[in-house]
């Protein structure tokens, strides 16, 4: 398909979303704004060989992931997604059209699941590998944009689900926590939030860096994903350092944290209280009653 056929194809498939006043086919898309609401914007590029092996995973899963990682960033701000802009570099060859269709099908499936239309884009072919870039726009939830900054010493660190296991394929087929990010705001003031893309240890430390504090992680409270639970000694390491879990990690005041723990599961969401923020600007692990400093990138077991 040429670019114009693609635009036609996307036009035909994209349901008319009420916020998209002008969709694909003009010089720009036109997105309606809401008075006193800023726009959230995030962008992620996936590159063949670097982020995925096309022959192994197929273009549809690449499409799903390209949309999902951006949805996860909107979730991490506590927002609602609105419209996606998709740029693609397709490897030129006999199956270019098939790759394109699988890719867009994957993006649309994931987008549709969160009422997010493809409102514009740029489709190209070239002699290089598959490149997919998604820019996603959204709107903040009831508490406004929830930043990485805002956690204070004494606040609880909580997560929305079990960690570890992205190595077993979860990183391709995860569900972005849009629903969770919005639902939490109905039950507590969320002071800071991030999606776990670099691993709990690293992303908890990102919250600390932006908030100007440190955090202690409780080894025995970190929920371990089924996929790595049997890996005995290595399970905790996976839960702390596996990237691309895409659960949300967030800070709440202790009182709000206690209330959340007493209320859960909240509409099927099981929360865990995995740490506490502290004054000292470092990352600590509390294990077997002993607190020691660990590095934010990757966790090495003491035994």
């Amino acid at each position: 398909m040429g670019e114009f056929e693609f635009i036609d194809w996307i036009r035909r498939q994209t349901p008319g979303a009420s916020r998209i006043a002008v969709g694909p086919g003009d010089d720009c898309a036109v997105i309606e704004t809401t008075a006193n609401r800023p726009m959230l914007v995030t962008t992620d590029m996936l590159l063949e060989g670097s982020h995925f092996v096309l022959a192994e995973v197929g273009a549809e899963r690449v499409g799903r992931k390209a949309m999902a990682v951006n949805l996860s960033d909107i979730a991490a701000m506590g927002g609602t997604p609105i419209a996606a802009f998709v740029s693609v570099g397709l490897p030129r060859g006999t199956n270019t059209s098939m790759i394109a269709e699988d890719l867009y099908r994957g993006m649309r499936e994931m987008g549709d699941a969160f009422s997010t239309s493809i409102a514009g884009g740029d489709t190209n072919s070239w002699t290089g590998g598959l490149v997919v870039n998604v820019t996603l726009m959204g709107e903040p939830g009831p508490q406004g944009p929830i930043l990485r900054k805002g956690a204070q010493p004494g606040d609880w660190l909580m997560v929305t689900g079990p960690l570890g296991g992205s190595i077993r394929g979860k990183h391709l087929d995860f569900t972005p926590r849009i629903r969770e990010g919005l639902l939490l705001q109905q039950h507590a003031t969320i002071k800071a939030m991030i999606d776990i893309s670099d691993g709990l240890a690293a992303d908890a430390f990102h919250l600390c860096e932006e908030s100007g504090c440190g955090v202690v992680l409780f080894a025995d409270r970190i929920p371990i994903a089924e996929a790595v639970r049997q890996m005995s000694g290595a399970a905790l390491e996976h839960a702390l350092s596996d990237g691309e879990d895409f659960e949300l990690a967030f800070a709440v005041e202790p009182g709000a944290g206690e209330k959340l723990m007493a209320t859960q599961p909240i509409q099927g969401i099981t929360l865990a209280h995995v740490g506490v923020f502290v004054e000292e600007k470092a990352l600590f692990l509390d294990e077997f009653g002993m607190r020691r400093r660990i590095e934010p990138r990757g966790y090495s077991h003491p035994f």
Copy 2:
């Protein structure tokens, strides 16, 4: 530079734009909206070997162009740019950092010239060629989003400057017509507009397709760029069919067109009245007193 160093570098260099409430470094950027104003959004991907030869043009010009083509799309809607989101795939090698710095310098130069900050992005390296994607957000001008749709039979087709010459390098070093797109709205109601990226003939036809009409181009009124004026017989062909001129082509009512022609040059902008929209849904060229139908893609001279 790693991604975090990059974010630091961009943070240091990006002037605090008043509309960017949260810039690079969080999960999403936060862009302030204006009540009753929608957002304009456009995205373009440039791929090494397909859109540019890196060794010939250098990364700085690639950066300038990546920003400029998106600015041109905002201009084509009569809008003002606000914030850019930049995703990059850098070829891995000894000069990765140099390419990155040149690229961002080019983007920032072009962005700064139009008060457009880089508000977010995603920087990667891989084994493939250089890939640059820019998504640009803007706001409509006083007449709201000016679409490709809206021209009517009898309306004049006008352009903002001489055409042809992109083959001589203009496609890399053009100035996006943001200023022109805004200024025109102070002097006339612009019924439809497009930036000339595929060539006058093709882009005039895009206006027709969206507006549901046709257009007659006047061969002797098409302003020819200095770079191709000496090419005697081929000059008109270049002016009609060279892509990436990035002048604006727009439709106005005849009365408004006459007023514009009488008023010009408007703050240095020289307009040309190059055609008239007609009922019949086709593209015509009026040359030596004869009107004949031509194809929208490329112009072939009758002699």
